[in-house]
Structure formats: structure tokens, C-alpha cells
Symmetry: D2
């Protein structure tokens, strides 16, 4: 009989929604499931917020005290969906309590925090995972498969972008994402780390970076209310403004440990780009292109195709591709954000069931933090910076 | 306090999965929810299958006897996810028992069945819905909004296609979808009705049709096992074959009641097309284009744009668009099949909560059956056929 | 030594420009050229217009008397770039004078005219060609190659569209293209025939059609001046209007002689579509898609590709593809309208040099007229109409 | 009466073809023309080659002695279509002889050569132009118009790529393009300079760069014959190989004088990319995207569009856009490589007729060389390098 595992989810915002959906849905998709997640306790800032999250997200219990929750003997997995500033404290407590952990990205505000979390997790012998869900997109996993099977040859270069526009409006509110003390950094940590994770997944460790970082909107209206408002403008013309102390954009170049080169660009100020995560990879035998805004598709070109029929193929992922057995019966029915989170949940519980660490785990998350840190340092120094 | 409503779901296949996910997830997305669906009983063909479906889809109880289930006083909503041949019998029984009903598409195998179901539902005074989920895609709902607000003017024409390739392989198994006695028809009912529903939603009632229908693969290997296998080839070279008695493809022209003209094409034999539902609508003031394979996007062109900046806009749906408040916080995060089903579930329970029939309800489903019937008749006669 | 051949071009409008460019450029591209066209005489309505055309288009001489020109012994080729109403008279005279002829499309206003022209051309033993240039697009010729080599198997269906928007504005001037006595028909002849030609080229003869034809804009401002104004609105608000007696749009279905089915749609009133010639062809072993608005590319899908790398390939045409040796040294440099006309010119002079009729010649053009006539007849009768 | 001007064209390869076509065609498109170019003399390496070029390209005379030709009193314009190694010598001689000059890009092999050419041209008071034709694409000129009119606000960043694959095959021949002594540099000069020119045109002067340069294929088969073979493999398996001493790829970051930042990437080893020149520009009020492989289109997004209809517009260029009056009567007929060269020719003779220097002239070309030089220097030093 498939084991039921109790989850305590800390945080009831956008990510709480996505994770709760995945806990409920994962076994419906991947059956027999590696384990059946049970939504046991949800934690939010206040008792009222927690109770509302409980009803909304279908948990048994609500709490506003994460400390006691993570120590409860009936909890198997702790899920950290909070802003970045409390990732470390919660994760370390959960690890000490021997709970498996999934933590939203980025792993932490700083390398120091990430290192402490990783050490705690390793010391505790738990399963740990960082929620870089975009590598769970079947098309990205298909790219990984092509690369591992040598079908595009040796990788020469990698170009990754993550472009959004929700902070392009200078009257967008000063949410926690614009405050260094909570977020750690701006675009670098928030979305740049997704690209770093994808680069590590598909190409290998980044060894050296050089970056330009920019803050275009230097003050923003102070946010009314606690919700994470992406992009919605505060209406009051006379809202008080406060400084932004994080980066809006990063443009950078990369050197990988295996000799490949690359570039990484991330911004939340690119008008018209929404969730524009693009990857372009050139190898000695072919090329790959991916755009998350059209995430059902992977573009792949094989150099050994006949001369008169050579070109990028648009492959719609489905049952013949990674994770396809668990998702929908034909390609094109639709991979959405939900499906990426359901796959992530499947990989988490597969890891727990097998006792084998998933990827990206906290060590991978720490490596990503090291790259993020090098990007931010290079943004200051203007020089190539080693990762460690 | 939001009301909890008990659902009995009949059928545990691909659609059962999609609906179960939606019951679990809908309130997480649309909160406060109009009602909270509770997965009470799932019914499948055998006790064993039902019990497995119960565990997989998170229902309280399992049963292999739909008749007794639809009469249970604790059931509020009956969800029909079976093959087409039992839609009518179940729906009529459920209506007589006073249950609200959501029925998978197409509503029935024949006009007669659809009419009987509609009459039963109306007589019972219940809420009834047909699960044409593609009109729940936010981009399609946005097209509807533009049209209703007059932003593309009077509609001149409509072109709808639904192209798939899962039956192009002549060794694909003879599932129930290729058998008239179970499915009623082939492509016309299976996917053509989706396009008819979209045409009715966006343009208005179709008055007259002329069609060509084709069966390209006239025999198929008899299917081993009961599952609905889309596209997977039976491996045994010596599998016994049996005749296909439904259509593989329909090409047709349409006249709408309001004077617009159009065309409709559907096939499951178009190599390389997966779930290629496309709409192109030309009005006196602009045009709309949609392709479900890139369903986050709606293409719209406004004729009164300045001469030097005129062209189709690619609008990624998000919070500023229909259903946007309930889905994801920025465009491009991803609309998948899951999201269309979550929206459908929201509309169903909104209808139940408000006591106002949703669209498409059984009357709309009957109208779609009448068009399907006219398409099939015209496929025989080669002449224009009136819808009724 | 490559032979120089003298060309008399009748008509100095948009098409005169395109043809003159091709005469000058063809040997530069296809070298050694089959013959070197020499721009000998250009004919226009008045001496002044002809003299201006001479200087603009680089001809030796100018004339306003086409009758005497086509009989000149030093003329080898007559090029008919006039409105449709004088195609027949000029072509018959030129044929009688023993000149090779290229005639702009459509071949004539009516089947009767086309038949007379064809008979005259055949009687005279000359080389004759109709200027359906779109089949000269390398990507279209590549589609032909795939089909002929059996790479997409037996053709099941064909879907062709030609959508423009230059007549969607109801204040666009009443040019000759809206007058039946000059143009013969509207959209059917002007652009629908291009699709018919492409269907004949790629699939084979059309045997039967059924059509809806529509005139959306029933009166237009009388045009000031003689130029062929596409889409430009007459500015005067009080311009006198006169009736349009031709079709704005045709929607139709096709049956080919070889059993394939299809559809054809053409309109000049589709806001946002410019020169949107699309082809979609499904075969038993693959599919082809083409969109002239992205004419450097052919989309092709081969069903026997490996299951995990199956999808439409985007093939950019270049040296490895038809006409590639004569055009540009790498794909993607750019196929424009010019290049299609240069290829057409190459095929014309190759035919003259070899003494083998090109395709489409007048017989092909007549066949296309027969289909156009059947479309127009069916637009009246509402019934399937045989092509002859 | 429009003035006729005599052209001497030096070099009869791929570029000679493109230029000859433009001389013949330009007045046909842009009428009345600023001047009528007359193809007077063509120069090639040998008398035989020159005579063949004369016949092929329609010149009056042939010569193998460029020195005497550029001094002929009847020559008005000297057109330099040779490999890069003789640009300087010819241009300086032509300038001294008082001829107007158009020189193929890049202007020279080195900054020193470019500076000498620029000084000679300025001293002579002639009109001078560098043939960076891609900025003549109407869609690129439209981008310039939007930017100049402030429609996308202040430019924040620029991302330019030029990706090709014709040198990805390690058996592609060692043409002059792989030899430093002839080409000056590899990808940087050959195609990277196009992107630099586009950046200068649309954004402004680049002040500082940092680059990585790579040579992936370090030896190639020695080329048989003199033609510029792009991409074609030498068939002989035992062809002798020689070293490549230029760069295959450059990845770089840019700082503009006006504060904008950016990146530039160019490679001839990107499998599947043909002439993939892409531009992405983000401003404070909107964004622009361009891909030369789909060069009829410009993508533009205006931030002040209504919230429910915001997205990139795909604008097909035509009469309402730059150069539209001279090209084709409706958008989508097709902008090819020919059309870019015809526009370039129009701008050259407009400059000559008006006495106003065109852009890019030799000063602009020198500036581009300075950036190229900084890129190559930075490829060595790994540091930010100032331009000058």
C-alpha cells in the first residue's frame, strides 16, 4: 500500500497555492504514486490567515506557530513557501527535527544562510529539495535527455534569459521582493537563479562570471497590505515612496567548468515579456532552443539531418517524453504552471520513497547561491569573479 | 461559510483524472470559492477499479454501481466521465434524482439521446453543464470579451480547426472512440463538437452546414484491455483487426444565423498536429486568431490602430483578463489543461451557487449535437443541411 | 554564347516593375543564363506614360501602340502586365505574330477568353506561361520535391488560404480590381487563382468544388487617376461612390481528381492579414505547412521520425533546395517578392531555350480558370460544381 | 532629367551580384530616382573573370586593372566588393581620384586601415558609404522611427545576436574568411560588425565592451578554387588542412555612451541558425524585437496600451513604413536580400544627389571598427576595453 506522508506547509501565498494543488493532484497524475502527500498543517502569519489558508488549501489543521509545527512527530515533510528571509531559520529547525524539506527558491538570501541550511540538512540525513520548478517542464527535461544521450554533441555555449515586465511600472508597489533585508537580492535571486539552475542542470557547473547589474526604479510606493503584489500599481497618487535597494536587471557572461561559455540575462523591467525564460544551446552536433512562454514545445536541430530537410524541429512534449506517462495522453493538451509543480512534487516524493537525494537539493541550491553571489559581486567590481 | 457539496464521479479514466484534480484545486484558485466540491464517491466498472480510483483521486468512497450512487441523498452533483454510450442513461437517472450534472462532451451519441437528457434536466430543475473545457481557456474568453464589446466589429467569418494525429497510425488500436455504437460518431463528435461549441460561444448559432467526411483507416487492431489508448500502437503484428465505422476527418462550411459564414475542419489523422485547435475570426473592425497549442496567447488586430503600428498583438493572458483573478499572478506562468478544467469547475459551482444555468448547458449541448448531426448527414448527402 | 532575346513589355504598373527587375537581374542570379532578356520596348497607355516607363524600367524604346509592337520582327517575347481585360486580345495577337508570351495572372476574365488564348498559343507553337509566381517560392518548390519523392506519402487533404486586408476599408477606391468588366471577378480571380495554381502544382487537378462568395463592401468611392491603388483610401469624404460587382471573399471545399479533399479560402477583407498565403497538406507519411508571410521557411513533419524527436521542422531554404544554386549563398539571407519573380523569369527563358513548355503554361492557366469559373458558379447555385 | 552616374564595381562575387542587381533595379523601385546608376565597368582578378562578370552583371566594360579604372574620368562611383584585404588600397585610390565610394563591410581589416580610408575620403570631399545593408531592412528602419519618436521611451538595454551555422562543419573549406591576413578577423569583423552597426544606428555609440572570443574549428581543408564558398564541404577526405587564425564566435557585453547597457553575440557555428540577426530593445515605455529571418516583421510593444490588450504587435512593413513608397504596394509581398540592397543603393544615390553624407559613412564604419577592435582586444585581455 502506498504510504501517506504528512506535510506541513509554511506560507499561504502564491506558492502555497501552487504547492497545495500539487499535493492534492500528484497521485492522480503519477499512479501508483511514490507516496501520497497528506495536507496536514498549514502555517501563516496569523491565526486568521492560517485558518483561511486551511480551508482554501484543504489542510486538516492551521497554525501561526511554525516552530512548534516543524517539531510535531506526525509531520513527515516541511514545505517552506515563505519570503526568503525566513528560509534558513525554518529549514534549519525542520532539519534538526528530522523532517524532509522542500524549500522555495532561491534557497536563501545569502551564501552564508544557504551553507548553514545545507550543512544542517546533510547532518540530519534528510531528503532536501529546492523548488526550481522550471527544470520540471517536460520540454526542459527533454533537452536534458538529448544532451545526455549526446544527440547535440559537445556543448559549446549556453544562452539563458529570464525576462518579465511586472516591475517595469515605476508605480508598482515596494513589495518584499524589492527589499534586500527580506529578499536578499532583486532580479538575481528572484529569477536569475532559475536560469543558473537551468544552466547547471543542462550544461554543468558555472565556474566564473562577469555581470552588469542595474536598478532602474530607485523608489517605489510603500505597499499597502501584506500580499505579494506582482505588478499591480498602487492607485493613490500620493502614496509615500521608499528606496529600492536591490537590482532590477542583470546582464552577464559565464564560463562553465567544462569549457563551454555562455550568457545570462534577467530583468523584471522588460515591457512585453511575461515569463520569458529562454534557453539556446549550441553543440557540435546540433542545437536546442526553448521558450517557457511556449513551454509545450522544445526546438531541436540535428546537424546530421539530410541537407534538404534540416532545420529546428518543434517537438510538442507528451507521452513519448520525460514525465509523459504521468501527464496527459497526447501532446498539446497543455503544460501549465500546475503541471510543472505536479512533476516537482512527484520528484520530491520519489526521492523520499527511494532515499536518494533529488536534484536540485540544498547542495545544488547552495551552488546556485554561489553563482548568484558571484554575479552580485561582479556587478560591483566589474570584473570576472570566480564561483568560490 | 462556503458550502461544501458532495460529488459523485462516474468514470475513472483520463477525464476522471482531470475532474478530480479540478475538484481538489478549484477553491485554492478561486477563493472565496462559490462552493467547495467534496470528492464523495467515485464509480468505475468493477469494485477493484473503483477502489483504485478512490485512492488515486482522493474520494471517500468507491462503487461499481452508478445507479444506486446517483440516488444517494448525500450526493449533490453527478459528474459523468464515461464513454459516450452511457451518458444519456446516467444523466437521466441523475436528473430524476434531482442532482446537478456535469457531463463530458459530446453530450450524447445522437440527437435523440441529447434531447431526452435535456428534457430530463429541464424537468428536474437542476443545474446542468457540458464539459466543453476549451472555451474556458482564458484566451478564448478574452476573444469573447473583445467580440461582446464590439472591438472587432461585426463578425464576417469564422474558421475553426481541430487537428490531431493520434489516429494517423493505421495500427493504432480500435478503442471505443472508433466504434459507432459506443462513440456515436468519430471525429465529428469527439473533437468537431469542441469547434462547434467554440463557434456558438464566439459567433452564435450555426444555421446550415455542408460537409465532407472521410474514414482513412478502415480497419484497426482490436484493442487489448479496457483503457482508452490514444495513439499507442498495438505491438503484435498479427493482432486481429476489425472495421472502423466512424469518420476520421470532417471538412465543412458553415452559415451562421446572423449572416456570418465559416468553415470547420477536424481530423485525428493530421501528422504533426497534436491539439491544434485554431480559430480565426474576421470582423469589420479587426481580427482574432487563437491556437490552443499556444494557449497562453490571443492574437488580436484592431483596424483603427495607427497606420505605422498596425498588426496582430500577441496578448498573454493573466490577471487583466477573464478568470485572471483566480489563476496565476502574472501572464506566461502557464495555462495548461489543468487550468482549463479548474476554470470549468469554477463556472459549474458558480452556476450551482447562483441558481443560474451555466453555458454550455444541456440545451447548448443539444444544439451542438444538432450541428454534429447535420454535419454527418451532409457527409452522406453532399448537400447543405439545415440545423433542425 | 548565351542568346540575347528582346522583350516587349505591355503595362508599366506594379507588375511591370517586378518583371523589369527580373529581366535585368535573372542572368546575374542564374549564370550561365538560359538566355539573356533584353528590355527592348515598353508599352503604356500614353506616349508620356510609356516614355516614363522606358526610363524607369531601363527599356530601349517606348510605345503606346501595343498592336504594332507585338508584330515587330525584332521582338522575341511579349510580356502582358496589363489589367485582365486586355490579356486575351494582346496574347492572341502576339501568338499570331509568333512571339513567346508570359501573361500575368489570372490568364483571363473568363473561361472563353482563356480558351481562345490557349488555342491561339498552341496553334502558333510558341512558348507560353502564366505568371503565378508564388509557386516559384523556393519553399513551395521544396514542398513539391518532398511530395514527388513520396516523403509525406499519399496526400489526404489540402488546405489553402490567401488572406489580405487591403480592401477591408470600405473607403478604399473602386479600382479596376472591383469592376467585373475589367477584372472578370474579384477575389476569386485576383488571388483565389493563386491558391488554385498551388493546389494543382502540389496535389493535382481539382475535379469539383462548392463555394460561398460574399461581397462585403457593395459601393466604393470612384477612383481618381489611373494607377492601381491597393488599399489607399480616397481622402475626399464626398467622393462619389459606385457599385462593386465582384466578390470580396470566397470560402470553398474541393475534391481533387486523385481522391484528396481540401478547402480554399480567399479574401481581401481580413484585417491584419497581408499576403497570407498558407498551405497545409496532410499525407499518409507526413505533413507540410507553408505561410508566404514567412516564405523563407517550409514546415515539414515526417511521421517516421523517432518518437521522442517528432515534430514539424522549420527548413530555411538555401543552396540545398530548389533554385538554391541561383539565389543566395546561405539560407535566411532573404527570399522576397523580387526573388520569386527572378525565378519565374529563369523558368520562362529555360523553357524558351529548351523548347519545352513551362508550367503553368496557358493550358494550366485555362484549367485554373475552369476552377475559378466553377467556384463562381457554385457561389451562385450553392451546389457542388464539376470543373468542366 | 534624372542624372545618370557611371559605376565601376570592383569584385564580381556574391556581393557583386547583389550590387549589380541593385544598380539595375533601384530606379524601378524609387522613381523618380535621385540618380540613375549606370553599370560602366566591372573589375575582377583576371580578364576572363572580368569579361564573364561583365556579361553576367550587365556592365559595359570589363577590366582586370582596378587602378586604372578608378582614375577614369567617366567614372562617378567606385563600388568595392572585394575581400577585406584590398578595401583600403582601392578606397584611398578612388578617394584621391575624387570618386564617390561605397565599400562592402567591414570597412577594413584594422582600425589603422579604416582610419586611413576615412581620412582620405574626408580629404577628398567625396560621398562615402559602408554597405551595412541590414539597417536598410524596412522593419529595422521602422524600429529607428519608433525610437526617434520616443514611442518606446528611453532605451535601457539592447541585445543583438548574429548567429549562422555555415562554418559549424569542421570540413568547411578554409576560405579567405578564415584567414586573418585577408579578413582581418573572423566572426567579429564578418558579422559582428553588422550588429555593432545596428546598435549604433538604433541606440548610439558604444563606449566600452568586454568579450569572450572562441575558435572552435582550428584547422580546415585548404580551399580548391577561388570562389567564396560558404559552408560547402570539400569532398576529398584527404584534403590538406591549414590553421584557422580568426575567431568563430564572440560573446560580449556593451556599455553605451548614453547609459544603456547591452550584449552582443555572433557566431558562424550555431547549428540551425542561418542568418539569425535578432535585436531586442527595452525602453521605459515599450519594447522592440526583430529577427532578420522573419524580416518583413517588426515586433513592438507599447506599455500604455490598455491592460487587456497589451502585447507585442507584429507589424508587417509596407507602404506605411520607411522606404515603403518605393518597395511593394502591400505588406507581406516580400522583403528579401534584394530589397535591402535596393534600399541601400537608393540611400547612396540620394546622398550623392543631395551632397549630404549617408549613414553609415566611413566615419561610422571607423567607429564600428573601433568597437570590433575593442572586442578583439577584450577577447585577449578578458577585461573591459574602452572604444578608443
Amino acid at each position: 500500500m502506498t504510504k501517506v506522508m504528512n506535510v506541513a506547509m509554511i506560507g499561504g501565498g502564491f506558492m502555497g497555492k501552487a504547492h497545495a494543488m500539487a499535493y492534492a493532484s500528484m497521485p492522480m497524475f503519477f499512479w501508483p504514486a511514490p507516496a501520497i502527500p497528506h495536507r496536514k498543517v498549514v502555517v501563516d502569519m496569523t491565526d486568521g490567515a492560517a485558518e483561511e489558508a486551511r480551508r482554501r488549501f484543504g489542510f486538516d489543521e492551521a497554525s501561526s506557530d511554525w516552530r512548534s509545527v516543524v517539531e510535531r512527530p506526525d509531520i513527515d515533510v516541511v514545505d517552506i513557501c515563505t519570503p526568503n528571509n525566513v528560509h534558513a531559520e525554518i529549514a534549519i529547525a525542520a532539519a534538526k527535527a528530522g523532517k524532509h524539506i522542500i524549500c522555495e527558491k532561491p534557497l536563501a538570501r545569502t551564501v552564508e544562510e544557504a551553507r548553514a541550511m545545507t550543512e544542517a540538512a546533510k547532518a540530519a540525513g534528510i531528503i532536501h529539495m529546492v523548488a526550481f520548478n522550471y527544470r520540471r517542464t517536460p520540454a526542459v527535461a527533454l533537452a536534458k535527455k538529448y544532451i545526455e544521450e549526446g544527440r547535440i554533441g559537445r556543448i559549446l555555449n549556453f544562452r539563458g534569459t529570464y525576462l518579465q515586465d511586472w516591475s517595469a511600472d515605476e508605480n508598482g508597489p515596494l513589495s518584499w521582493r524589492f527589499q534586500k533585508k527580506i529578499a536578499g537580492s532583486g532580479t538575481v535571486g528572484d529569477i536569475g537563479t532559475h536560469v543558473v539552475d537551468l544552466a547547471h542542470y543542462l550544461v554543468g557547473p558555472i565556474a566564473e562570471v562577469i555581470a552588469m547589474t542595474k536598478t532602474y526604479v530607485t523608489t517605489r510606493p510603500i505597499q499597502q497590505g501584506g500580499v505579494d503584489k506582482l505588478g499591480a500599481s498602487e492607485k493613490s497618487a500620493d502614496a509615500e515612496r521608499a528606496p529600492v535597494d536591490v537590482d532590477d536587471e542583470v546582464v552577464s557572461m559565464l564560463r562553465f567548468g567544462n569549457g563551454a561559455i555562455g550568457s545570462l540575462e534577467a530583468t523584471r523591467n522588460a515591457w512585453g515579456r511575461n515569463n520569458f525564460i529562454t534557453l539556446e544551446i549550441h553543440g557540435t552536433k546540433g542545437s536546442i532552443h526553448f521558450n517557457y512562454e511556449r513551454r509545450d514545445e522544445l526546438q531541436v536541430m540535428f546537424a546530421d539531418d539530410p541537407a534538404d530537410a534540416r532545420g529546428f524541429r518543434t517537438v510538442y512534449t507528451g507521452p513519448a517524453h520525460p514525465y509523459g506517462g504521468g501527464l496527459w495522453p497526447i501532446p498539446g493538451l497543455g503544460i501549465g504552471y500546475s503541471e510543472t509543480k505536479i512533476v516537482e512534487c512527484f520528484d520530491l516524493f520519489s526521492a523520499i520513497a527511494s532515499g536518494k537525494q533529488p536534484s536540485p537539493n540544498f547542495e545544488d541550491g547552495l551552488l546556485t547561491e554561489l553563482v548568484a553571489d558571484a554575479l552580485l559581486r561582479s556587478g560591483e567590481t566589474g570584473k570576472w569573479e570566480r564561483v568560490e
